[in-house]
């Protein structure tokens, strides 16, 4: 696979825009969230939306409260009467599709958007429960988060990591978030606070789970020649891949994030890089145990060692491999399909040296990873660099 995917040269991120992320955004509709992010991204890229060749949105109907949400996408992006499409997928997958489109050489510039207006959803847990298979799982009448509890238990048993080490992830990420002006859930916590926060689905506790956030992300991608002519500090998408592991939760190995393993292998091959090249990582931490599980499945930590490395500061802001310097979903807030977008934005800021108080040192290559949440085993990996 290596090389072939990039047969028409490299692809760069030349503009980013965000709005949010906040637990609530009563002053902005979902359209306004997107509009604000889009204006910033286009301005940064130095392009008028008329000069963008095609647009992609990542969204899910039930999260939007509309059937056929694709209808409500074009206006606020400046994309009326243009080639626009939706993927019902995570932002990072949409970014991958954008890279693919530029590699057909039919498109030079692509705008990729995702947003969350989770605060509009009265019954978020019921929406999540609607993702359970209607024949096999829904009759159990369980909140979908029971699967996160099962996964966490299995992962801890298989890997030897501990609940306290998961709690340490929460402490780290919400602490990092205090340094990130985008983040809505920064806090100074102790491991004991997490341990005492009450069970959601044992052993998962309330503070192990990211709280929801509203927000929007827009990223402008460009082919190499356009990027070099327009942008002084392009961030290159060297590799990107998305994978789904076993589709049915009941026949899946819950201890391992196979989707992350498969996607990382392909993304690294595309980039011609290895885990040793990664200077920092933004991985999915919708639940604390997921950060540890993902680090191990991605090959950034050896099996069973992610918790130990976290406890010993290896993944902290000043550690050898800073993980979720942004604060992650735990600290910024979980923005569903847009969460991967927030992490891409963080990686771009880091690689441009614009991350301010949460800047990591010597950032040249970053890994961004996403997961679609329970009950899925779908996720994506992107390798970004500034050289």
């Amino acid at each position: 696979m290596s090389g072939r995917f990039l047969m028409n040269g490299r692809v760069a991120i030349i503009g980013i825009g965000t709005e949010g992320f906040s637990p609530v955004t009563p002053h902005l509709s979902f359209k306004e969230l997107t509009y604000c992010a889009a204006v910033k991204a286009y301005r940064q890229a130095g392009l008028h939306p008329k000069e963008i060749d095609s647009f992609i949105t990542a969204s899910e109907d039930f999260m939007e409260g509309y059937s056929i949400f694709d209808e409500y996408v074009p206006d606020q992006m400046g994309a009326v009467m243009r080639p626009v499409h939706t993927v019902t997928a995570e932002f990072l997958q949409a970014l991958g599709v954008g890279v693919m489109m530029i590699n057909t050489a039919r498109f030079k510039t692509i705008a990729v958007e995702a947003h969350s207006k989770a605060s509009n959803i009265k019954t978020l847990h019921d929406v999540k429960a609607f993702a359970l298979d209607p024949v096999y799982l829904r009759p159990l009448e369980e909140d979908a988060e029971f699967l996160a509890g099962l996964e966490m238990r299995r992962f801890l048993r298989d890997s030897g990591n501990t609940e306290e080490q998961c709690a340490q992830v929460v402490v780290k990420n919400r602490g990092n978030a205090l340094l990130n002006p985008l983040a809505g859930h920064g806090a100074k916590l102790r491991v004991d606070d997490v341990m005492a926060s009450g069970a959601v689905s044992t052993p998962l506790k309330r503070l192990d789970a990211a709280a929801a956030a509203d927000g929007a992300v827009m990223v402008v991608l460009a082919a190499e020649d356009v990027a070099r002519s327009l942008c002084a500090n392009p961030v290159w998408v060297d590799g990107v891949s998305w994978f789904s592991a076993e589709g049915n939760p009941w026949s899946r190995d819950l201890g391992v994030a196979n989707y992350a393993k498969l996607a990382a292998r392909k993304a690294f091959a595309m980039a011609g890089k290895t885990v040793r090249d990664v200077d920092f990582a933004e991985v999915c931490d919708e639940y604390s145990y997921k950060e540890l599980q993902h680090l191990e499945s991605l090959g950034l930590a050896r099996p069973g060692e992610a918790g130990y490395l976290t406890e010993n500061g290896f993944t902290s802001l000043n550690g050898d491999l800073p993980v979720n310097a942004s604060g992650g979903s735990l600290g910024v807030g979980h923005a569903f399909e847009a969460s991967g977008g927030m992490k891409v934005v963080e990686a771009v800021l880091q690689l441009r040296g614009e991350a301010g108080a949460h800047q990591v040192k010597n950032a040249r290559t970053g890994l961004v990873q996403s997961w679609r949440g329970v009950p899925t085993a779908t996720g994506a990996v992107a390798i970004l660099s500034n050289e």
């Binding site: 696979m1 072939r4 995917f5 990039l6 047969m7 028409n8 899910e60 109907d61 039930f62 999260m63 409260g65 509309y66 059937s67 056929i68 694709d70 209808e71 409500y72 996408v73 074009p74 206006d75 994309a79 009326v80 009467m81 243009r82 080639p83 626009v84 499409h85 939706t86 993927v87 019902t88 997928a89 599709v97 693919m100 489109m101 530029i102 590699n103 057909t104 050489a105 039919r106 929406v127 999540k128 609607f130 993702a131 298979d133 209607p134 024949v135 891949s241 998305w242 994978f243 789904s244 592991a245 076993e246 589709g247 049915n248 196979n258 498969l262 392909k266 679609r372 899925t376 779908t378």
Partner: protein
């Protein structure tokens, strides 16, 4: 370098029925298996999969793409769902085209599934939430209402009668009698159509396609792989799509500008300069009889306002100059939304290979166009196929 040429090398289609006994994943499996068998491939030969399906509201499953994943062969593969409302069925192979043309993979499985019967009491229950929640939903509109508006506007603009339009339903339902997947084929007279039960004037029951369940799949391959697999590849030589504003009520409905823009994008890529002369078989989307006429004009297959007259003269019959919906279309074969669009592309595949059996049009056609349409009178998706 440019993009790689992409061919359709295999196809599968389930029967379209009112209430399938199979679940959505099972329908997806049936179509995928048929498509792979038709070109002697195994699932292990497929690198990436893209699936199209219209709103999650039909199935009542959040993240429907993840739900259908196991049936569509997505486990442990790069799998993604694309979604442009009613335009999805023709967009799905366009999404597949991106996968292969970019070099991301050599073989991509494209699946389209719809199970509308899960929606109780009728799919109209899911359609209420396609409308704007503030300005439109309080009016309790149905989809048929807005089509009635559009049909009336089209009739008024060109001085057409219901009988002028009903001939499309007569033709397509008759054509469908030769289609093994057909749900509502039959021999009807224009009077039968005119005298069927009124739904919302001027739309009567036989002007409209039925809700249905079904799935379709095609296998796409790069040029070198396609030539190894078959001596009759059908090339996806042009792809186009376009999305108009969400504010459908602000525009003149007599002409689908967005379909024209999508068609021009596809024709430009395929090097087609005079579509009315160069296209030899057409499968425009016909969920309502007037829609076939509307779309023929949008696809530039005839002058504006002339489509009804040409239909009356037999120009669009299977033996006419431009056979249109020789499959039987949505009006005859049925309309499980996304599956219908892909059914139309499969019809081109069969017609251009000379394998359409009793439906085969004379004269060895070499160039065809298929189109779908959707969202709130908003999206056009177009592919041009060549043998």
């Amino acid at each position: 370098m440019g993009y790689r040429r992409v061919a359709i090398v295999g196809a599968g289609l389930t029967k379209f029925v009112r209430r399938a006994q199979e679940t959505g994943p099972e329908l997806s499996w049936q179509a995928s298996k048929m498509a792979l068998d038709s070109c002697s491939l195994r699932l292990k030969d497929v690198e990436m999969i893209t699936l199209g399906s219209a709103p999650d509201g039909f199935d009542g499953v959040h993240m429907k793409g993840e739900y259908l994943l196991s049936g569509a062969g997505g486990s442990n593969k790069s799998y993604i769902r694309n979604f442009v409302g009613g335009g999805t069925g023709v967009f799905a192979p366009i999404h597949g085209w991106m996968h292969v043309a970019s070099g991301a993979c050599d073989v991509c499985l494209v699946v389209a599934e719809e199970k509308m019967s899960s929606c109780h009491p009728t799919p109209q229950g899911a359609f209420i939430t396609i409308f704007d929640h503030t300005t439109e939903q309080p009016l309790k509109p149905t989809l048929i209402w807005i089509f009635a508006l559009e049909m009336r506007r089209y009739m008024e603009r060109y001085g057409l009668t219901r009988a002028d339009i009903a001939r499309v339903a007569v033709k397509n339902k008759k054509n469908a009698m030769d289609h093994p997947s057909a749900q509502v084929a039959g021999e009807y007279t224009v009077d039968d159509i005119l005298n069927s039960e009124v739904l919302a004037e001027p739309v009567h029951r036989l002007d409209i396609s039925p809700a249905g369940d079904g799935a379709a799949a095609v296998v796409l391959a790069s040029e070198d792989v396609a030539k190894r697999l078959t001596d009759r590849p059908v090339w996806l030589d042009g792809v186009g799509w376009n999305l108009d504003t969400s504010y459908w009520a602000t525009k003149d409905l007599y002409y689908p500008r967005y379909v024209e823009k999508a068609a021009r994008m596809a024709y430009d890529m395929a090097g087609i300069k005079e579509p009315h002369k160069e296209i030899q078989v057409a499968e425009p989307y016909d969920p309502f009889d007037y829609k076939e006429l509307h779309h023929m004009e949008g696809l530039l297959l005839c002058p504006r306002g002339e489509a009804a007259r040409l239909t009356a003269e037999g120009y669009t019959a299977r033996t006419g100059n431009l056979p249109t919906c020789p499959s039987g279309g949505a009006l005859g074969v049925g309309n499980p939304i996304a599956a219908t669009g892909l059914m139309k592309v499969i019809e081109l595949f069969l017609q251009l290979r000379g394998e359409a059996g009793k439906r085969q049009i004379p004269g060895k056609p070499r160039v065809g166009v298929a189109q779908a349409w959707g969202d709130l009178m908003q999206v056009g998706t177009v592919v041009v196929c060549r043998s």
